[in-house]
Symmetry: C2
Subunit: 500 residues, 2 copies
């Protein structure tokens, strides 16, 4: 009786070392994957004196990081924060991250990350990354334009977070010739790995781990243009192959709520969960496999949209519109069944544009336009007195600069009273819900992969989205690169320092 979800997920039970006749190569540390986490693991291990080999499926590496907007979530008082006139503190950063990355945030990882964030800033700039000392006002954007290095990339200023921790902008964007560039970031980090002495082996697929009789991970089986290679790791293997947003079968098994409409972020040749499965095959436990970063960017390039109101299928508001786009994706998809609209009036609505004033190609579907709330409500098929009441109440208090329902910041409060009114269609299937997965191998802050009983799997490390990291169940932009680079460093350090 075949199960419906039994279709093959190609994966990787480990090879027993006793079946290895001779190794094709041997290093202290083998890093699998050459995105941000892999590059940083290779740099750290190499600089610690270990011999390092990086194997990468693609022709040169970069991964999802090279396609990113190069934002890193850093804080605690970095030079960039100071240059832009902001105070920050590791404790405030810690409090914010615990509140926004839960439920069940990994407090130990967040503690280390917050305490060492300034150090990590210096480490990154020491490896060629550059942060322009210019701040994007919160009112303008969360995405820096040309020549801007710092911005708010989370819900720090929004209710309830503003009362939990002192807000500070922590989105540090890597610029190249004034423009944000994941490509430039990865060029530097990949160069750093080479400079640290790592052998970079591209076009190489990791197929399986090799374990000895005691369950210790001692190498990797790779495939290079059809040929099998056996690569021995004297100290450890660091897996940094990303998440599983591009593996529909794994999504169905572990995270069914993320299947269907959300659009995976990252190159389709990656993020198939191969590293997570290899790690599980060697005894690693995977946790929080249901968690995802789900982004609903209705204010991207069109910040005034925050002055509109988000409503569900019953015409009810359900959130303060000024929380960050990752909160919006999570809440809209998981709590409102993806059935939401943004209501705007003629004064608020403008065609989307970026910070330079350029029109942004992303366009929104308009679900309905009407001269009155009653007509809009009817056109959207909402129940009688629903949206009309929501608008009347919102307008009454917005005129006084208040939002007693959801505590949107006064800055964004403006009655919707200039017809026509319009409903921008933010329902799943009608706009872009961007997705990547957050679940993965259970690791210690040092990158050691843990088994089901919480013991380290000897010789096995994971970093970046292959692991369940700082953004355990909730997300702010820049956390995956911040956590990925930092956890890569930690794992590279740990593997290099390990003696057999």
């Amino acid at each position: 009786m075949p199960s419906s979800d039994e279709a093959q997920v190609k994966t990787s039970p480990p090879l027993a070392e006793r079946e290895v006749r001779n190794w094709d190569a041997e290093e202290d540390v083998i890093v699998v994957g050459f995105g941000a986490a892999g590059a940083c693991a290779a740099i750290a291990a190499g600089e610690a004196g270990a011999s390092v080999r990086v194997i990468e499926r693609g022709w040169r590496g970069g991964g999802a990081s090279a396609e990113s907007t190069a934002q890193l979530y850093l804080g605690g008082g970095t030079p960039l924060q100071k240059a832009c006139g902001f105070e920050d503190d590791p404790d405030e950063m810690h409090k914010y991250l615990v509140a926004s990355c839960g439920p069940g945030a990994d407090e130990a990882k967040i503690r280390v990350y917050s305490d060492r964030s300034v150090d990590h800033y210096h480490w990154l700039t020491g490896h060629g990354l550059y942060f322009e000392p210019s701040f994007v006002p919160y009112e303008v954007s969360t995405h820096p334009g040309p020549g801007q290095g710092l911005s708010f990339t989370g819900s720090e200023r929004a209710h309830p977070y503003r009362d939990i921790a002192k807000p500070a902008p922590r989105g540090h964007t890597v610029l190249k010739d004034g423009v944000m560039s994941g490509e430039f970031m990865m060029q530097n980090l990949m160069q750093g790995a080479a400079d640290a002495g790592a052998v970079i082996q591209a076009d190489t697929d990791a197929e399986r781990l090799v374990v000895d009789g005691e369950g210790e991970v001692v190498g990797v089986v790779a495939r290079v243009r059809g040929e099998r290679q056996l690569l021995r790791a004297r100290r450890g293997v660091v897996i940094t192959t990303g998440g599983f947003a591009h593996n529909e079968e794994m999504l169905r098994r572990y995270a069914p709520a993320l299947t269907g409409h959300p659009a995976p972020i990252g190159p389709p040749t990656g993020d198939d969960g191969s590293g997570i499965r290899m790690g599980m095959g060697a005894g690693g436990a995977a946790i929080r496999m249901d968690a995802g970063c789900i982004t609903l960017g209705f204010a991207y390039g069109h910040r005034d949209n925050i002055r509109g109101i988000l409503v569900n299928a019953q015409g009810q508001r359900y959130v303060n519109e000024d929380v960050y786009q990752t909160n919006h994706g999570q809440i809209a998809l998981m709590e409102q069944k993806g059935q939401v609209y943004l209501i705007v009036d003629d004064e608020i609505f403008k065609p989307p544009q970026d910070q330079s004033g350029e029109l942004v190609p992303q366009e929104f579907e308009i679900a309905a336009v009407a001269e009155t709330p009653e007509a809009l409500e009817a056109e959207l098929g909402m129940p009688p007195h629903s949206l009309t009441h929501t608008l009347a109440t919102y307008n009454e208090f917005a005129a006084k600069g208040e939002d007693p329902y959801f505590h949107k910041e006064a800055l964004w409060l403006q009655p919707l009273q200039n017809p026509p009114l319009a409903a921008i269609d933010l329902r799943v299937g009608h706009t872009y819900y961007a997705l990547f997965t957050l679940g993965g191998l259970h690791t210690r802050p040092g990158g050691e992969v843990m088994d089901v009983e919480g013991e380290a799997v000897p010789g096995l490390y994971a970093a970046g989205r292959t692991a369940s990291g700082i953004p355990a169940q909730g997300y702010n932009s820049g956390l995956s690169l911040g956590d990925g680079t930092f956890s890569g460093r930690m794992a590279g350090d740990s593997a290099a320092a390990r003696s057999r």
Copy 2:
């Protein structure tokens, strides 16, 4: 750097068979755990001609099933359904279960279960279970009183399910002297196991599985009063030790949203996830580990409460009140942050009582009482015009027998207009959210445990809440016993039929 969640979860990497000098006992099939799933696995394997040994941690078995209300979700046209005058059909049952057990319900398991439900009814009654041919009207309760065998135990008649599949009552309750009795059910099933020839070994803790050099599961390491026993399984090991609702550490790792206030169901000596961890240690994949059955029984013993309205912290309705208590728990906790109230008026509210008219010990906290909607809204600290508008709108349409917002059945629609009004406090921490876990080992419909790549782990079977089963992400009462008894049968059959 220790991780915050690194505290020990005692668990069980497998023992290599080469370390076994001699076995203390040997059977065709070893069943771990003697609740409903374990008993049915033992019956099935024994009746198929296999020699069977059941090992049970407690002094006699029964597990959470013996403490249950003995409801089994069965249908498709069972003799009990027919005796009570109801038509049902495997296809309608299948459609309802797919809709209510998702997202991502296991359609293959549901297909087999729906098609074989009448057969399973006969199998159960053939093993001593008795279903009284008397129906509890939907309007009265979902929990049968004395002498009643059949009731609705899901949301079959509620929107949107009533439009997806033709409703039928499918809660089959085992009665003993007219009273529902999990104890009686388990006495019969345990006796059935003994009658089928199974050796029942109580006071025996399963500690680890034993695997051979090929990864095949060949036995169990058990501990009996401090002494280690090695038990060989010639054909297979069936794990039926329940879920992990009583293991806080596992909940924190895998299902952080279920930690905290919800109250675990089942004896505190069980459901610690030991079987899931043993299975994972032997290469089994655990899926849907975030899923739980969360019950908010605000209408239990007080069916008229459905005539009230459920509102969130913003005084908004968020669901049709006539969905089943397991939907209510899931929605209130996961989508409304557990911050909900039931609003009733003086005509609706009555002290809770059971079907015999007895007062039920469960009492509700009253959050506020007031003569007017405005005063109730203020007393609850809700925003201005929130609850007042909700009540006015609800009353307007309820008077016409309509619920354009959430489509509650007309039967339950009644304006709330007889002061005083009261808010029953259903917030987490103020009432009882009952919990058990639904995630577990990934199995085929036949009970074979699958590894990370979807291949069977040879010799390993799981059933009941040790596996991710029919209630994959959503729940109706009776599904866990229904799925547990059926999946136990399937696993026992499969293990007995396996040849090495």
